[in-house]
């Protein structure tokens, strides 16, 4: 039984790491703009497809696929910001960008449906079928890669935010956009940078999720609801909170599957969400919103 508990713990960390990757982008955008980007899910899907095609074109070079997904995500983020968020933000509306991203999401899904079709793609990387077995525990090399890439991404993001000028500028804009502007920081540039980083993360998470997900044009939408829940449980735009909440949700899913029923996963996760909102409305890691990013 101990082996099963340990195995489910590993499974939970793998799934949780994927959730963290998806939710980090949402957290960054929410932290800086206090806006939700509904098209985030579709950038994840596009990242997955970009990685799929590049990996297949380059005879199984999955790392090239991840790199291209990162770039595709970043470019899409820049586009979404430049064509939707920036013009609508200048008109002073908070609701319009939100609705516009729903429109972008539907448009991207249908464009992918026309171009790529609805039949599920089998994204098998060279690492998906390599299984490491030890003392009754099994783990694919793909899963190891997911944990390593997630940990590296979190570390790099943390270092970027703490130690670089741009990271500090980003935090300054999230705390007080007007004052940051008075200090010589261009808020529009920082917001654009936030979108690029968040969407690049989404693209990369798509590349990591692709071999795990049922890869169709709607793939991203199956994880985005959980990602939103993680952002809220973690503390509305709080990076540390998002990491903890993502791993927690992954572990809850695994242990619910083992000890209760997989059909109850959503009930348990969203019960946690409601409990968090009722008992600790600021999220697991409670800070002042201005300090979240």
């Amino acid at each position: 039984m101990l082996t099963v508990i340990l195995q489910q713990g590993i499974n939970g960390v793998v799934v949780g790491s994927l959730y963290v990757l998806v939710a980090l982008g949402l957290t960054l955008i929410y932290g800086v703009l206090v806006q939700i980007n509904f098209a985030h899910a579709d950038i994840v899907t596009l990242g997955a497809f970009a990685a799929y095609f590049v990996t297949h074109l380059l005879s199984g070079n999955y790392f090239a696929g991840i790199a291209v997904a990162l770039v595709v995500g970043g470019i899409l983020g820049w586009l979404v910001n430049a064509t939707i968020f920036l013009p609508l933000r200048e008109r002073g509306s908070e609701l319009l960008p939100l609705i516009a991203t729903i429109g972008v999401s539907i448009m991207l899904q249908n464009a992918m449906l026309i171009l790529l079709g609805p039949i599920p793609y089998a994204f098998n990387t060279p690492y998906s079928s390599q299984v490491i077995r030890f003392s009754g525990i099994f783990l694919t090399v793909q899963n190891v890669l997911i944990i390593v890439v997630s940990a590296l991404t979190i570390a790099l993001l943390y270092a970027f935010m703490k130690f670089t000028f741009l990271g500090k500028a980003l935090r300054a804009v999230s705390q007080d956009r007007e004052t940051a502007g008075l200090m010589g920081i261009n808020p529009n540039y920082v917001i654009m940078l936030t979108f690029v980083i968040a969407s690049a993360l989404a693209g990369m998470s798509g590349a990591m999720l692709g071999p795990v997900l049922v890869l169709t044009p709607f793939a991203g939408t199956t994880v985005i609801v959980k990602a939103f829940a993680i952002v809220i449980i973690g503390g509305f735009g709080n990076v540390e909170g998002t990491i903890i909440a993502g791993l927690l949700v992954g572990l809850i899913e695994s242990y619910t599957t083992q000890f209760l029923d997989p059909g109850l996963i959503d009930i348990v996760v969203f019960a946690l969400l409601l409990l968090t909102l009722a008992v600790r409305p600021t999220g697991l890691v409670a800070e002042k919103r201005e300090e979240n990013v």
């Binding site: 799934v15 089998a122 098998n124 998906s128 169709t216 599957t257 997989p262």
Partner: protein
């Protein structure tokens, strides 16, 4: 001088008007059309059904309309029923209000079919189904719904009996999506298998939004010796389950001993996507491409010529739906009521998936639409000839 801006347009307007009247009277002369309303999932996770259904329908209509049947041509209107009750009922209403079909075909997913059925019955339009397995479609059913596909009881009893008697299975773990069809199929298997003396070690249901099946495979791996794992899911989740069970070392494809049992829901080509994990998978298919009957081989040839690919069972059963309607028209069907009566009177219709003859509940009683296949190491199929 009075300016008359439309004066120059008078002559062309008369010519166009004349042409319209002429084409309208021509349309009236060729008005003998059987209108088929097609309700298929074109969006969402079941949309792979719709794409393949449409291919089968288009091929059948193209062949039939070359010479017509009893002076009738066939016209098809597609609506997206999305494999889900609410969009399916909206699509059915849209179809009836705007297209006014003589007969409808679809849906694939049982929940959607169950939502469509009362709407079709109220409009007195026969519905011919080839892809839903829930027993509720025909029991109690209604006089306007007919099903070619064997229902979940027919499939479940058959596969459980074969698992026990031919594969000597004594233990089973059930994996299924939490839908009418998923739960129903698993329940029938469990009842039959238990009655024969087998033991169900676990009954694991999951939602369609579950992506990672490693946790479920871990749970299955911890259940001890398992002989068979009947699995009831759509293609995407089916792929992930098969791969996860292989990674956990449970099924033959991963070096284990358990045999995964699959359903009609999975399309041709599933094995190629799942890879080595699918080794030893035994599953029911609705269409056997190795069947030597001329109707099957002609269909395969025509399909490859039109689409440059091999047909799947979904292509095949969509093709059969239209061909069965054509058979009814050949026997005198000309409107909704006569097509319904003709369907009910069908005897030994021979289609590409098998034959059809309906009982009092409008369920096809022929079992030759069930073909058992085993996945070989080179990922090809071996027909098991159990039926």
């Amino acid at each position: 001088m009075i300016y008359r801006p439309f004066r120059k347009l008078r002559v062309p307007a008369i010519v166009i008007g004349g042409l319209l009247v002429a084409s309208a009277s021509q349309l009236h002369a060729a008005d003998k059309v059987i209108k088929i309303g097609a309700l298929f999932p074109i969006s969402g996770p079941g949309s792979y059904f719709g794409v393949q259904d449409k291919q089968g329908v288009e091929l059948a209509v193209e062949q039939l309309n070359k010479s017509g049947v009893n002076g009738y041509k066939f016209e098809v209107q597609y609506e997206d029923s999305a494999c889900s009750p609410l969009p399916a009922s909206q699509a059915a209403k849209r179809l009836i209000d705007q297209f006014k079909p003589d007969v409808a075909i679809g849906e694939e997913c049982s929940d959607a079919t169950l939502a469509i059925m009362p709407i079709m019955a109220q409009a007195k339009v026969p519905l011919l189904n080839a892809g839903s397995s829930s027993i509720k479609v025909t029991q109690p059913g209604n006089p306007w719904t007919f099903r070619i596909m064997p229902n979940e009881v027919m499939q479940g009893v058959d596969i459980a009996t074969n698992a026990y008697k031919r594969l000597n299975a004594r233990t089973a773990v059930l994996l299924h999506e939490n839908t009418n069809a998923g739960i129903g199929n698993a329940k029938v298997f469990a009842e039959t298998f238990t009655k024969l003396g087998g033991k169900i070690l676990a009954d694991i249901g999951f939602g369609r939004d579950v992506n990672d099946f490693t946790s479920i495979a871990t749970r299955v791996a911890g259940l001890g010796k398992i002989d068979v794992i009947p699995t009831y899911t759509l293609e995407g989740q089916g792929l992930k389950i098969t791969q996860a069970l292989a990674q956990a070392g449970v099924v033959k494809g991963g070096g284990g001993k358990a045999i995964q049992l699959g359903t009609i829901w999975l399309p041709f080509g599933f094995e190629q996507k799942a890879g080595k994990a699918a080794l030893g998978y035994v599953r029911i298919v609705q269409f056997d491409p190795t069947d030597k009957r001329a109707v099957v081989q002609d269909f395969i040839k025509a399909f490859k010529a039109k689409y440059n690919q091999a047909p799947t069972h979904i292509n095949a059963h969509a093709y059969d739906q239209v061909m069965l309607i054509a058979d009814v028209v050949r026997r005198g069907g000309k409107d909704a009521q006569s097509i319904r009566d003709g369907l009910a009177a069908t005897k030994n219709f021979s289609g590409v998936t098998g034959s059809a003859e309906f009982d009092k509940t409008n369920q096809n009683i022929k079992m030759d639409t069930v073909h058992y296949m085993e996945t070989m190491p080179d990922l090809s199929w071996k027909a098991l000839k159990w039926n």
